[in-house]
Symmetry: C2
Subunit: 217 residues, 2 copies
């Protein structure tokens, strides 16, 4: 009996765009996956022995990096934040586009050079690295959401967050001042599983073909 | 003009029980707070200059500890996990009861003594501290949710998570094996704000009176 193949997908934003691509790669979760009242954490697939787990984006990377899931889909923001050595992101799925950006209160930009900043973010590693390159030491206040509140309440002078339309920033009196990383969703796989389980290599090929087919179309 | 008074409440479970107590303390968020389509992150209060922010439980503690909110409500699990020196939790609100527990696959309990374990949890500090007391070194895999998946997928042999009815554990073939911490919601305040802003001291008094009134009733 072979080990079940676990595919990890993130809750939220990316999933709606990912499901049609997954279907073309033969990964179709059963009806319970779409039942909002279900308490299940893992789901069977149609015509496949694969199982799907739906977890938070950061946890997708954790499950795959540790080999508890063989493959998954997650934003490049999460891939870059963790930089897990066992996590390999071979296919850019060209969906879930947004950007990781720095924002600050509108009109604050001409405050002159600084050597130290307090920044609110869910991405401490990417934030520190970005400011280090400019010779600025960033003290990161880790928040899990509602970053946009931080400057107005004096918790931080800047935030680093995902930006899509920029509307939430504007609603909170903030302005995007630089882009750290353009973000899109990636197929990620566990490196050891890719070497030892041919189902992983097949899945990578299937997603590659779908993406290049879409680009050609 | 005095600094606006910011009161932080957590999304989810605790909030339904907290709102009636807050109302008795004179903290009543305006109608927009209850509008599920609102994108607002901060809300005015009726008959008061207080503003309410609704953020994730861990972030309630972060805002209050840094003085970006003067007061808030959060579970004792979060207070204990962070152990922020500037965060003071003077009133046990006697709501939001649950417990932080260790769970493992049912029937695994007689595996004998161990010196090292891998544990999946949202609470790395409390988890390490709990196992250290037993002479066990716990390597914590930080997950943000769906902890119950971890043992079945080989990510960890134990989990440390909040348990209420225990039904989710049972559904995932897990058994609660020890309680680390009984949990209830607390009124928390920023220590510096408590010393300098009399509105904070009044709020503490109001919540204390409500809780002792409820106990006497």
């Amino acid at each position: 009996m072979s080990k079940p193949f676990i595919f990890a997908v993130p809750k939220g934003r990316i999933l709606d765009e990912a499901l049609p691509m997954m279907a073309r790669a033969g990964v179709v979760p059963d009806a319970e996956f779409h039942d909002k009242n279900s308490r299940a954490l893992s789901f069977a697939c149609e015509d496949s022995d694969m199982r799907i787990i739906r977890v938070r984006a950061f946890d997708v990377a954790t499950f795959v990096a540790h080999g508890a899931a063989q493959a998954g889909i997650v934003g490049s923001d999460v891939v870059e934040e963790f930089a897990f050595s066992e996590l390999y992101a071979p296919v850019d799925l060209d969906i879930g586009h947004c950007r990781l950006s720095v924002a600050e209160p509108s009109g604050q930009q001409n405050a002159g050079p600084v050597s130290h900043l307090r920044v609110a973010s869910k991405y401490p590693n990417l934030t520190r690295r970005h400011f280090e390159k400019q010779g600025i030491q960033a003290e990161v206040v880790k928040l899990n959401g509602a970053m946009e509140l931080a400057p107005g309440l004096g918790l931080a002078s800047r935030i680093v967050d995902l930006v899509s339309t920029g509307r939430t920033l504007k609603d909170n009196g903030l302005e995007e001042t630089s882009v750290i990383l353009p973000v899109s969703a990636r197929l990620i796989v566990n490196r050891a599983a890719l070497k030892t389980d041919e189902r992983v290599a097949s899945l990578v090929d299937a997603f590659r073909a779908i993406v290049s087919g879409q680009k050609a179309a």
